[in-house]
Amino acid sequence: MLQYINLKIDGVNIRAAKGTTVLDAAFEYGICIPNLCHVPNLSNIGACRICIVEQIVNGRSKVTTSCTLLVQEGMIIKSNTDKIRNLRRNIAELLVAQAPNSKAIQDIAVRCGVKKVRYPFRNEKCVLCGRCVRACTELFRAKAIGFVGRGKNRHIDSPFGVLSEFCKRCGACIDLCPMTITPCSGPMKPGKERLCGECESQLYLSDKTPDHCVWCELGKGFQCGRY
């Protein structure tokens, strides 16, 4: 039998099945927590850190990623405090610096309130979110791609660098990759990277009416429905 747990996210009383993550529980109640590496029904690895929230334990606040945090009875979560917004903005800024050629990441940055990027652009082709790896491993049970190396050499590769015989050519890795949609004005040339921010006008509304959610509208750029 399903067991239910009561918790509070941003002051809302929430009832969630035992074993769900705070992120999923929040979605169910229409509380938007920005996220990147989370894919519904796949395991969460907490790679992008965009989904951080504040958890209040004994009056002290603790910052963790909501996608890897399971709901507990009486939990108090705050997803939209000044502290979280600041931290999240910085994380988004780092992500744009890492991969400015992803519309998904540019969109997330705009939503998280990034106004300028203070870090040097790296223009990498991958942000190591692990969406492709998890889809390949968990959804299709193929293990045709995975993380290789460690530290700054970590990258995605197939075994021994050649297309694996287990690859089913399903293309799920490509569908899920945030890097496959370039910014509206086309890919940025090296040295010409910038914060796109072209959707910023849409955020005007959210500035005026803080409770107005623009996530879904902007999210279409990342084709959230596609997952």
Partner: protein
């Protein structure tokens, strides 16, 4: 020979995925590096997907996926050694052996490796040669070390 050693390493550990790291360690020790072929054999015999073997083997620094020279000269690039001129030592080594770190010399005798602290900071700059530690390195000591290693190398091959 390599297939025989592979067989003896894997012997008794077939279909035991949790033995992966131990097997990789043994292969590394016996063959000096882990080749693609041995990874494929390991994957088949232990029942671990090739991706998993590759991921683990590429993750740990203790495993080398490229052939290594007979003598591995490890130069410490940690903070203390850096301050005491590890950069010079590694440049010296590169210059004398004419290989980049991580590659093998043409005669197959040497590989230069870097680590970030060997835990003997007071003795810096530290160089280890096949696990043997040499403290307070400088270029003349390094030259002597390489020379002696070269000599033992040729003697051994002469005896063979």
């Amino acid at each position: 020979m390599s297939l025989n050693t592979m067989a003896s390493i894997i012997e008794g550990r077939r279909s035991q995925p949790h033995q992966l790291i131990e097997v990789l360690q043994d292969v590394q020790e016996q063959q000096g590096y882990i080749s693609e072929d041995s990874m494929r054999v390991i994957s088949k015999d232990l029942g671990v997907p090739p991706m998993e073997v590759f991921r683990v083997a590429s993750f740990y620094k203790a495993f080398s996926l490229k052939p290594r020279g007979k003598n591995v000269i490890t130069v410490c690039m940690g903070t203390a050694c850096h301050v005491r001129g590890a950069k010079l030592i590694i440049n010296q080594a590169v210059g004398q052996l004419k290989v980049q770190p991580g590659e093998v010399t043409e005669d197959g005798l040497f590989t230069i490796d870097q680590v970030n602290c060997l835990g003997a900071c007071a003795l810096g700059p530290v160089v280890t040669e096949n696990g043997k530690c040499h403290n307070h390195m400088n270029s003349s000591k390094l030259r002597k070390l390489i020379k002696s290693l070269k000599n033992t190398g040729t003697e051994e091959t002469a005896n063979d």
